[in-house]
C-alpha cells in the first residue's frame, strides 16, 4: 500500500477526507481526495448521507402526493421539480392546462432560477474567500422568496404546482412586486460583475480551471449551465419547449471554453435571460382557470412516461412506470446534480485543492438532489 503511493518523483501521496462536514461541500458530501502535495490525483465522491429513499416513498404515494417530494430534491429549484411531475401526469392523461397556468408556471420557474443562481453566486464568492458576496446575494434572493411566499405560502418547498394546474391563484400584488423587483435587481446585477466577474483574482482562479470538453460533457451527461459552458446545447426549454417557453424569446447561453469561468459566466448571463423572460410575460398573463378539470383520483394508463424539465442545475427528469393503479409502479428522478457530480473526478485531476473548490462551486452541486 505504501509503496503504491510513492509516485515517480519520489513524493508520497496521501488521503484527505473533504467532508462530510466541510465548509465548501455545501451539505454532506464527502470527497476522498488523493493528494500529492497540493495537487489532486484522484477525487472519489462518497454520497448518500442525506439519502431519504424518495423513489421508494414515491412508489406508495399518489401522483398528487409525489409532487411535494420533489421539493426536497433540489430545494433551490423546487418549483421546476414540481412542474416535472405535474407535466408528466398532464401529458400522460392528455390534459390541456389553461394558458394562464402555463404562463404563471413559466414566470415562477424563472423567478426560482434567478433565486437559485443568486444563491450560487453568493456561495461561489464565499468559496473563493470573498464572503461579502454571500450577503449581497442573499439580499437579492430574500426578496424573491418574499414574492414566492406571498403567492405560494412557502419560501422554499413551495409545492405550488399540482397535476392539472396550480394550488392557488396569483396574489393580487404579484405582478407589481415582480416588476418592482426586476427594476431593483437590474441595478444590482452589474455589481455582481464588478465584484467577481471582472475581478482579476477571480478570473485568474477560474480561467482554465476544470476544463470540460464537449464530448466529455455529453458522455458524462453534464447538463444545465455547466454543460452549456462546454457548448453542449442541452437546454430543455429550447429543445423540447414546455409551458410557455415556446412563446418567449430568449437565448440559450452557449460557451465553448468549458472551464470554471465559462460555467460562471453562463450562469450570470442566464440571469439576464431569466429577467428578459419574466419581463416578456409579466404584463400579459392571460385570464383562465388555474385548475383543469381532473378526477379526484389520478390514475395513469399502463405504460411508462418520461418528462424532462430544465432546472437551475440542468435537466431534471421524472421516469414513471405505471401499472394502471393510483400509485406508480416505479419512479425514478433523474437529478442533474448526480450526473454533474460524476464528472468531478475527471476534471479536477491535476489541479490544486483550491481549484477543486472552484470546480465544485461552478458545478453548483446541491446534495439532497444527488442523494435523493
Amino acid at each position: 500500500m505504501q509503496a503504491e503511493l510513492i509516485s515517480k518523483e519520489g513524493t508520497q501521496e496521501y488521503f484527505v477526507n473533504m467532508g462530510p462536514q466541510h465548509p465548501s461541500t455545501h451539505g454532506v458530501l464527502r470527497l476522498l481526495l488523493t493528494l500529492d502535495g497540493e495537487i489532486i490525483r484522484k477525487v472519489e465522491p462518497h454520497i448518500g448521507y442525506v439519502h431519504r429513499s424518495i423513489e421508494k416513498m414515491a412508489e406508495f404515494d399518489t401522483y398528487k402526493q409525489i409532487v411535494h417530494l420533489t421539493d426536497r430534491l433540489d430545494y433551490l429549484s423546487a418549483h421546476m421539480n414540481n412542474e416535472a411531475v405535474a407535466l408528466l401526469v398532464e401529458n400522460a392523461l392528455q390534459i390541456e392546462v389553461s394558458d394562464r397556468v402555463k404562463v404563471i408556471r413559466t414566470i415562477m420557474n424563472e423567478l426560482t432560477r434567478l433565486g437559485s443562481h443568486q444563491l450560487w453566486w453568493g456561495v461561489i464568492g464565499m468559496d473563493m474567500g470573498a464572503i461579502t458576496t454571500f450577503l449581497y446575494a442573499f439580499r437579492d434572493r430574500e426578496l424573491i422568496n418574499d414574492i414566492m411566499e406571498e403567492t405560494t405560502g412557502a419560501r422554499l418547498t413551495m409545492n405550488y404546482n399540482t397535476p392539472g394546474g396550480l394550488m392557488f391563484d396569483l396574489h393580487h400584488n404579484f405582478q407589481k412586486q415582480v416588476k418592482d423587483y426586476l427594476k431593483f435587481f437590474k441595478t444590482k446585477l452589474p455589481e455582481y460583475d464588478q465584484l467577481l466577474s471582472g475581478n482579476v483574482i477571480f478570473t485568474e482562479r477560474t480561467k482554465g480551471v476544470g476544463k470540460l470538453s464537449l464530448a466529455d460533457a455529453i458522455s458524462y451527461g453534464v447538463t444545465g449551465p455547466s454543460g452549456r459552458a462546454s457548448g453542449f446545447s442541452c437546454d430543455v426549454r429550447k429543445t423540447q419547449p414546455y409551458s410557455a417557453y415556446d412563446r418567449v424569446k430568449f437565448n440559450e447561453i452557449l460557451m465553448v471554453e468549458g472551464d470554471s469561468f465559462a460555467r460562471y459566466q453562463s450562469r450570470v448571463n442566464e440571469m439576464w435571460e431569466s429577467i428578459s423572460i419574466i419581463e416578456q410575460l409579466i404584463d400579459n398573463i392571460p385570464e383562465g382557470p388555474i385548475m383543469a378539470p381532473m378526477k379526484a383520483v389520478v390514475k395513469l394508463p399502463k405504460g411508462e412516461f418520461y418528462q424532462r424539465v430544465e432546472t437551475a442545475r440542468g435537466e431534471f427528469g421524472v421516469y414513471v412506470v405505471s401499472d394502471g393503479n393510483k400509485t406508480p409502479y416505479r419512479v425514478k428522478f433523474r437529478s442533474p446534480g448526480f450526473s454533474n457530480l460524476s464528472v468531478l473526478d475527471h476534471i479536477s485531476r491535476g489541479h490544486k485543492i483550491a481549484d477543486l473548490v472552484a470546480i465544485m462551486s461552478t458545478l453548483d452541486l446541491v446534495i439532497p438532489d444527488i442523494d435523493r
Binding site: 454520497i47 448518500g48 439519502h51 429513499s53 423513489e55 421508494k56 406508495f60 400522460a92 464530448a215 466529455d216 455529453i218 458522455s219 458524462y220 451527461g221 447538463t223 453542449f232 446545447s233 442541452c234 394508463p301 405504460g303 411508462e304 412516461f305 418520461y306 424532462r308 435537466e315 427528469g317 421516469y319 412506470v321 409502479y329 416505479r330 425514478k332 433523474r334 448526480f338 450526473s339 457530480l341 460524476s342 464528472v343 475527471h346 442523494d371 435523493r372
Partner: protein, 152 residues
C-alpha cells in the same frame, strides 16, 4: 432518424430484440446477453450515434429485472429507450456500459446498490448511497424493512 427506420435498423442488427412503441419513445427490449453489443452499435454507428444517455435506471418486475437506458443523439436528434431484460431474478447480471457512456459509472453503482444488479466489468462496483453493511436492496419489490417502512 424516424422511429420506423430505427426499428428496421435495430431489428436487422439484433433479431432477438422486442420493439414496443411507447407513448413517447421507441422502446427496445434486448436480452441481457446481447445487450452490450447492441449498446455499442447504437453509440458508435454512424446512423444512430446515441451519444447522450440522459437517464439510467432499473425496474423490478418481480420475476425479472429490466435495466433501462434513455438514449438520445445530440447530433441526429432522435431518442429511444433501451432496456436490457435480465431473466435471472436471483442473481441479476448485465454487462457494464460505463466505458461507452461515462455517466453510467455512478448510475450503475446506484442500481447495484438499490436493486442488486451486478454489472460485469464495472471498474468500481460498490454501494453508493447506502452504507456498506446494509442488508438487501431497497428498491426491489420484495424488500422488507419493518422498522423504516410503513405500508399503507
Amino acid at each position: 432518424m424516424e422511429n420506423e427506420k430505427l426499428r428496421q435498423l435495430i431489428s436487422s442488427w439484433e433479431p432477438s430484440v422486442e420493439l414496443i412503441d411507447g407513448p413517447q419513445y421507441l422502446e427496445v427490449v434486448v436480452p441481457s446477453a446481447q445487450f452490450r453489443a447492441l449498446a455499442e452499435k447504437l453509440r458508435f454507428d454512424n446512423q444512430t450515434q446515441f451519444d447522450y444517455m440522459f437517464n439510467m435506471t432499473c425496474v423490478d418486475w418481480n420475476d425479472h429485472f429490466q435495466t433501462i437506458y434513455h438514449l438520445e443523439s445530440t447530433k441526429l436528434n432522435h431518442a429511444l429507450v433501451l432496456k436490457a431484460k435480465i431473466a435471472d431474478h436471483n442473481q441479476p447480471e448485465v454487462d457494464t456500459i460505463c466505458d461507452i457512456w461515462r455517466t453510467a459509472e455512478l448510475h450503475e453503482r446506484e442500481v447495484f446498490d438499490l436493486f442488486g444488479v451486478k454489472f460485469n466489468q464495472h471498474p468500481d462496483l460498490r454501494r453508493l448511497l447506502l452504507t456498506d453493511e446494509w442488508v438487501g436492496h431497497p428498491l426491489r419489490k420484495d424488500y422488507v424493512d419493518e422498522v423504516n417502512m410503513v405500508l399503507r
